[in-house]
């Protein structure tokens, strides 16, 4: 019964340090970060993770002008994933394709732009763009992708704060298992660096990273960490039921082994390690795995002083000291926090470990915070390991949404 087994068959991504999985992975293994200073309206230069893909690879100039940055990122990632999957897209029934894209937020970029625009006209709203509504509807990134691809199945976004990237994959898995669609394009995207509000918001929260050297600014687990580096990005996957993937002889990156989503129900912004641990345990249970069966834990840690400690507490509660083959890393140390794309990008950066048996490190840890000193942390240098059979990807978000996704090596 392979119709309930869901596999990853294609990856398309843009990250601040790479526009393909191969480039991204190479930079993760070589310690190459991708943070720069970017001019932010009203605020001046701020540290940000900026993607440098070419939107015109898959869009007309007019599509780029009319659409959103999140739409361009989604289209780029979707097209790259489809190409990578090797599927004959022309023969796919278009009404059986589902597009499920996780977003932290959507719409504030265009709203801020329009308010700035009418400020030049004495706030006369007759200068407000007629594109404002199609740009700001929450389904915009998925809708633009459906338009670009001519895909007529369900296409929508999943709002789940910074847990959203995992949620795209989890939702696609559910829809494939339910038989709602036969082919899914899923993951997460973020255009967050184009809104000053997210920078100003984190700054007011005292949670915006500062550092003289941009590439060293995002430093989860380091004693001197001082906050989040905000980034844009995207990672979309093609997911299929195993029997469909095998029937077309698809390359299989990994199999979805288990997942779980829960809520802290305790605070707007402060994570809750008890609920995080519950989330991870439930994902393990669904995957029928023990903690020691997980060989890579990719952490969510964003380099806020408190958030990192909370997650380490959750990981310690689940994995303890008794998992000698479990290694722990963090991808935000290279690319900052890609918000809705974070979970999806961070999973992608670790998928090649199934083949090369290398765990990419967490960089920028000059002095490990003792409260983050987990056994198995891979710090600053890549680590060759004996086996990688299962990867746990944690992504947590504001308002206390937690997601844990486990993928495992595909074994027929």
């Amino acid at each position: 019964m392979n119709s309930s087994r869901i596999v990853i068959t294609g990856v398309g991504l843009t990250a601040p340090n790479g526009n393909s999985l191969a480039e991204f992975r190479k930079n993760l293994l070589n310690g190459v970060a991708g943070i720069e200073r970017m001019e932010i309206r009203y605020m001046g230069p701020q540290l940000a993770g900026v993607c440098h893909f070419d939107p015109l690879k898959y869009q007309k100039k007019k599509e780029v002008r009319v659409g959103t940055r999140a739409g361009s990122i989604s289209i780029y990632c979707a097209r790259e994933a489809l190409a990578d999957s090797g599927v004959d897209f022309a023969t796919l029934p278009k009404d059986r394709i589902g597009i499920y894209i996780g977003c932290t937020e959507h719409g504030n970029v265009s709203t801020e732009n329009e308010i700035y625009n009418i400020s030049k006209f004495n706030y006369d709203t007759k200068y407000w763009s007629h594109y404002h509504n199609p740009r700001t509807v929450a389904n915009n990134p998925a809708g633009e992708t459906s338009l670009n691809l001519g895909a007529t199945g369900p296409a929508y976004t999943i709002g789940a704060a910074c847990a959203a990237g995992n949620m795209g994959l989890i939702h696609a898995t559910q829809m494939l298992r339910l038989g709602e669609v036969d082919f899914a394009i899923c993951g997460g995207v973020s255009e967050s660096i184009h809104t000053f509000g997210i920078f100003a918001g984190f700054k007011s929260q005292n949670a915006l990273a500062t550092h003289e050297e941009p590439h060293k600014a995002s430093r989860p687990f380091d004693k001197a960490r001082n906050g989040i580096v905000i980034s844009e990005g995207g990672a979309l996957y093609t997911l299929e039921r195993l029997d469909d993937a095998q029937a077309r002889g698809a390359k299989i990156y990994a199999e979805i082994a288990g997942y779980h989503v829960n809520s802290d129900a305790s605070d707007y912004v402060l994570p809750n390690p008890v609920r995080q641990a519950e989330c991870v345990r439930a994902a393990l249970s669904r995957a029928r795995l023990q903690p020691g069966d997980i060989h890579i834990v990719n952490t969510h840690a964003t380099a806020t002083p408190m958030g990192d400690i909370q997650e380490c507490e959750a990981i310690r509660a689940v994995f303890g000291e008794g998992c000698p083959d479990t290694y722990i890393n963090n991808t935000k140390s290279y690319i900052g926090h890609c918000m809705g794309a974070a979970g999806a990008l961070e999973l992608a950066g670790n998928l090649p470990s199934f083949d090369d048996l290398i765990v990419h490190p967490t960089i920028n840890v000059d002095e490990l915070d003792p409260q983050c000193a987990l056994p198995g942390l891979v710090l600053n240098q890549p680590r060759k390991v004996a086996k990688v059979e299962a990867i746990l990807n944690n992504s947590f978000g504001m308002l206390g949404i937690n997601s844990a996704l486990i993928v495992k090596r595909f074994v027929a």
Binding site: K60, K62, K126, H130
Partner: protein, 88 residues
């Protein structure tokens, strides 16, 4: 402003809102929609750009006047000239 100059104003706006289009051979007497990939949102863009760049208002009932370059010039040239004369 001459009608030819007015047509150029409209073409310059179209060049910005439809950057993929080849505007080297637009026939002035043929409907713009029949020779270019323009939709109703693009025509709203033309109206918006006339407002932003030249302070010219085109009421909804008169959008049809922007159907071709010739009809746009017939309709808009007096408006431009009225503005230039300080009567706008």
């Amino acid at each position: 402003m001459t009608k030819d100059e007015c047509k150029q104003v409209v073409l310059d706006i179209i060049a910005d809102i439809a950057p993929d289009e080849d505007l080297s051979n637009v026939k002035p007497d043929v409907r713009l929609r029949d020779q270019l990939q323009l939709d109703s949102m693009d025509f709203l863009d033309i109206v918006m750009e006339l407002r932003k760049r030249y302070n010219i208002e085109v009421p909804e009932a008169e959008y049809i006047q922007l159907a071709s370059l010739d009809s746009s010039a017939e309709y808009l040239t007096p408006k431009f000239n009225a503005l230039a004369a300080g009567k706008g």
